[in-house]
C-alpha cells in the first residue's frame, strides 16, 4: 500500500482508541469491532504467533525474533487497550518472547556457544507440534461424522406391542380341579341334593361375583361344601365363560395361583 493511504489510517486509530496510539505499527490497525472477532479467531498465543509467522512468510526454523516479538506485543497491547479479557497465556508468551530475544542479544563465550541450544528451539518445537495438531484437527473435522455428515440407517422392525400374558395349559387347570375335588370329597356328606344345576346359572353367578371382586383366585370360585356336583357345574361354567371370552384365566407361572377376571374389565 502507498504511504499517503496509511497516514489517515493512523490518525483514525488514535481517535478510535481515545489515547495516543501512534506507536502502534501501521500494519496493526484493527477495526475495533473486529478485535473481538480476532481474539475469537486465535486459539491462544501459539496460534497468534503462527499466524504472524505465516503472514510474513517467515522461516519457522529461523524465526527473526525482533519483528515477531514487536508484532506480537502490538496485538496484545491492542487487545488490552480494548479491555478485552486477555488470557494470561498471552502475557506469558510475551515474556517468553522477550526472554528469547534478550538471550539472543547477550554475548556468549565461544566455548559455551557450541553446547548451548538455540534459545528459540523450544519455541520452534512447540510451534511445530501445535501446527501439526491444528492441521490434524482440521483433517478430523473433515472426516464424515455420524449425525453431522452421515446418518445410521435403521429400518422399522415390527414388534408386537401386545402385552404378553402368561399361558395356562390344560394341565394346570386339571391340577387345580383335582385339588378342589379332593377337598370336596373330604367335606362330602352323604347327602344328595336336588339343586338345580344349571351351567348357565353358574355362569351368571361367576360373572356376578367377578363384578364385585374383579379378580378372583381360581379356588375362590368353588365352594367344596356344596358338593362335587356343584363343583363340576361351576367348573363347566368357568370353562364355558372362558370359551365365550367373557372371562380371562391367567397364571403367572407354573404352580402359581390361577386368577380369573372379567374379560375387557379395563374397558369401562
Amino acid at each position: 500500500m502507498s504511504e499517503p493511504a496509511q497516514l489517515p489510517l493512523a490518525a483514525r486509530v488514535a481517535r478510535l482508541y481515545g489515547e495516543p496510539m501512534l506507536e502502534i505499527p501501521q500494519d496493526l490497525y484493527i477495526p475495533p469491532d473486529a478485535l473481538e472477532v480476532i481474539l475469537d479467531a486465535f486459539e491462544g498465543p501459539l496460534d497468534l504467533l503462527l499466524y504472524l509467522i505465516r503472514r510474513e512468510n517467515l522461516d519457522i526454523l529461523d524465526i527473526p525474533m525482533a519483528p515477531l516479538t514487536r508484532q506480537y506485543l502490538a496485538y496484545v497491547e491492542a487487545m488490552r487497550s480494548r479491555n478485552l479479557d486477555l488470557a494470561a497465556e498471552y502475557l506469558v508468551m510475551a515474556a517468553m518472547l522477550m526472554a528469547i530475544k534478550s538471550r539472543l542479544l547477550l554475548p556468549r563465550p565461544p566455548a559455551a556457544e557450541a553446547l548451548e541450544e538455540d534459545p528459540r528451539a523450544e519455541l520452534v518445537r512447540r510451534l511445530l507440534e501445535y501446527e501439526r495438531m491444528k492441521k490434524a484437527a482440521r483433517q478430523l473435522d473433515a472426516l464424515p461424522q455420524l449425525g453431522r455428515d452421515v446418518l445410521a440407517v435403521s429400518v422399522w422392525v415390527e414388534r408386537t406391542i401386545a402385552e404378553r400374558l402368561p399361558e395356562v395349559n390344560a394341565q394346570d387347570l386339571a391340577e387345580a380341579w383335582r385339588t378342589l375335588l379332593h377337598r370336596a370329597r373330604m367335606l362330602a356328606h352323604h347327602r344328595v341334593s336336588r339343586e338345580e344345576l344349571s351351567v348357565r346359572e353358574h355362569m351368571s353367578g361367576v360373572l356376578r361375583r367377578l363384578q364385585e371382586r374383579r379378580v378372583l383366585e381360581f379356588g375362590e370360585l368353588f365352594d367344596p361344601a356344596r358338593g362335587v356336583a356343584v363343583l363340576v357345574v361351576t367348573l363347566l361354567a368357568v370353562l364355558e365363560l372362558a370359551r365365550e371370552s367373557l372371562l380371562e384365566i391367567t397364571q403367572a407361572e407354573s404352580f402359581a395361583p390361577i386368577y380369573v377376571k372379567l374379560a375387557h374389565a379395563e374397558s369401562h
Binding site: M1, Q6, D27, L58, D141, V153
Partner: protein, 195 residues
C-alpha cells in the same frame, strides 16, 4: 447352513434392523456359528457391493458393520431436520486431535501443546459424546487423568482403527500463506520482515 443368497439376505436384515454397528461375532451368531469368519467377510463384501450406487452404504467400523447414508445426501436429510447438528469449535477439535494422535494424554499435555488452558466444558463435551474416556492416571502429583479415544469415536468418524486416522502432516519450513483467520487485518499491514 443357508445358501449364500439367503445368508446375504439374513445379514442384510440384521444390519438394517440395527442402528448400531453389529460386530462380526454377533453376525456369526445369526448362523449359529456355522459360518466361518472368512466366508462371513466375503458375504459382507458382496453385500456392500450390492448396495453400490444406492443412497445407503454398508461400512466397516471399529465395532462392526453398519448401514449409513452417504454423505452427499446429508443436505437433503437436513431439510427435514429443523435443527442442524452444531459443529464443534476449533478448541474442541484441536483437543480431540491431540487426544487422538498423542493418547493417552493428560489435560496438562493438551495445554502444553495448545498453549492455552483446556476448559472443563471441552473435555466434558467430548466425554458426553462418548468419544474420549479416562483410561488411567499418571503417577505424578495430583494423579492427573489420562484420556484416550473410544471405539465410539472411531465408529462415528467412520474408522476401523487409529491407524486409519489421517496421517500427521510434516510442516514445511516456510509456511504457505493461508487465508487470514480474520479479514480484520487489512492487506496494508505488510511491514518489511526485517530480521
Amino acid at each position: 447352513m443357508p445358501n449364500p443368497i439367503e445368508a446375504k439376505r439374513i445379514l442384510e436384515a440384521a444390519l438394517l434392523a440395527s442402528p448400531e454397528p453389529v460386530a462380526l461375532a454377533d453376525l456369526k451368531r445369526l448362523f449359529d456359528d456355522q459360518v466361518g469368519a472368512e466366508t462371513l467377510k466375503n458375504l459382507l463384501a458382496e453385500l456392500r457391493a450390492d448396495w453400490e450406487g444406492r443412497a445407503v452404504e454398508l461400512v466397516s467400523l471399529a465395532s462392526g458393520w453398519r448401514f449409513q447414508t452417504r454423505p452427499e445426501f446429508q443436505p437433503f436429510a437436513e431439510k427435514l431436520q429443523p435443527d442442524k447438528p452444531p459443529r464443534y469449535s476449533r478448541a474442541v477439535m484441536e483437543t480431540l486431535a491431540i487426544i487422538a494422535y498423542r493418547q493417552p494424554v493428560t489435560r496438562g499435555d493438551i495445554e502444553d501443546i495448545r498453549g492455552v488452558v483446556v476448559s472443563t466444558q471441552i473435555i466434558q463435551a467430548l466425554e458426553n459424546r462418548g468419544w474420549i474416556d479416562v483410561v488411567g492416571h499418571r503417577d505424578t502429583p495430583g494423579r492427573p487423568a489420562l484420556y484416550a479415544t473410544t471405539r465410539t469415536f472411531l465408529d462415528d468418524l467412520g474408522l476401523r482403527s487409529l491407524q486409519e486416522l489421517p496421517p500427521l502432516e510434516e510442516i514445511a519450513k516456510t509456511l504457505q500463506l493461508e487465508p487470514a483467520p480474520s479479514p480484520a487485518v487489512p492487506a496494508a499491514a505488510n511491514e518489511p520482515a526485517a530480521g
